[in-house]
């Protein structure tokens, strides 16, 4: 598990107050019982943490936690290479 994934999980658990075990690759945002405000706050916290940007146009495409992690890792890697 990457350090990025660990940090994403820390942030989600802190904001959504869900169990860490819920955050499997196939977990949906419904499984996390996250409402729309939780989701925006998670995205904003990740943007601040990693210095990346996750616009709504992209966020609307995530089907599950696995997709989401892959996206964040790609963004973080892209930033590292910039």
């Amino acid at each position: 598990m990457s350090a990025t994934e660990e940090t994403v999980k820390d942030i989600i658990v802190k904001i959504v107050h869900c169990d860490r075990e819920v955050l499997t690759p196939t977990a949906t945002f419904q499984d996390m019982k996250a409402d729309s405000l939780d989701m925006v706050q998670v995205l904003v916290a990740l943007e601040d943490e990693f210095g990346i940007e996750i616009p709504d146009e992209d966020a609307q495409k995530f089907k599950n936690f696995g997709d989401f992690i892959a996206y964040v890792e790609a963004k973080v890697a892209e930033k590292g290479n910039a």
């Binding site: 925006v40 706050q41 616009p55 146009e57 966020a59």
Partner: protein, 260 residues
């Protein structure tokens, strides 16, 4: 009419903010478009502003975060060195009843809709100092009407309107005009989303399907009044909440669907 002026529109990527950005640009102002979540939409609005022959700049900032407000105004200060028009349009909210509204939802809505108006104005005034300026904020009928699922936004708009009056007086001597434009339901993405939520809560069609004027309020209807308030013709209008609602607020809800 606004040639050479520099305007900031928060939440300028879409909906009412986009219409205001385009209207101010049409009148000759350079426009800074602040956005929070929709970069593509903000860049499209910037392109459309530029096609009107003025400059546009896109700045991402969550106005609910005081640090991000400071960063945004630092960029405006270094890029333009001044500001003539500040449009406080960005808004957010949660469709909750009062008993379901928790501290997090209250803070989120109040921070973006009300506190940001104060903090942005404090920074905007520094960039207007010595030359005067225009400040217009966007409110809604929910500041005093009780609308389904609207408590969080309603109270934030009530705070915003009170602040409009206080700022209008405090800034009057600096030649800065502060006013608000309040609307009923506007045909934007957010407006239509709210209608769906309201219908779910009511269990029946939301009564605001039209207005006594024969149609719902469009973003351009708001933008036209905002542009007027930014003109010298509106110089003596201070601290007012101008209603743009096609007469909606004059008619009881129960009669609305019967055409007044």
């Amino acid at each position: 009419m606004l040639k050479g002026k520099v305007a900031l529109v928060t939440g300028g990527s879409r909906g009412i903010g986009r219409a205001i950005a385009l209207k101010l640009a049409e009148q000759g102002a350079d426009v800074i478009i602040n956005f929070f979540r929709r970069r593509q939409a903000a860049e499209q609005t910037a392109k459309d502003v530029e096609s009107l022959g003025v400059a546009a700049k896109v700045i991402k900032a969550n106005v609910g975060d005081p640090e991000k407000i400071d960063e945004m105004f630092d960029i405006i200060g270094s890029s333009f060195g001044r500001l003539d028009i500040f449009i406080n349009n960005a808004a957010s909210g949660l469709p909750r009843s009062a008993l379901d509204l928790d501290a997090k939802g209250w803070d989120w809505t109040m921070d973006i809709n009300a506190k940001a108006f104060l903090l942005c104005t404090q920074r905007a005034v520094k960039l207007m100092e010595g030359r005067g300026g225009k400040i217009v904020t966007i409110s809604s009928l929910g500041s005093y009407l009780v609308l389904p699922g609207y408590v969080a936004i309603g109270i934030s708009k009530a705070a915003l309107e009170a602040l409009t009056r206080y700022l209008a007086i405090e800034l009057a001597a600096k030649g800065i005009c502060v006013n608000a434009v309040a609307a009923s339901l506007v045909t934007t993405e957010a407006g239509m989303l709210y209608t769906r939520v309201a219908q779910e809560q009511l269990g029946e069609a939301f009564p605001w399907q039209t207005t006594p004027a024969g149609r719902l309020v469009a973003p351009e209807d708001i933008a036209n009044v905002v542009a007027f308030l930014c003109s010298e013709e509106a110089f003596m209008i201070r601290g007012q909440i101008i209603l743009v609602d096609g007469g909606t607020s004059l008619v009881p809800f129960s009669l609305m669907s019967k055409g007044g």
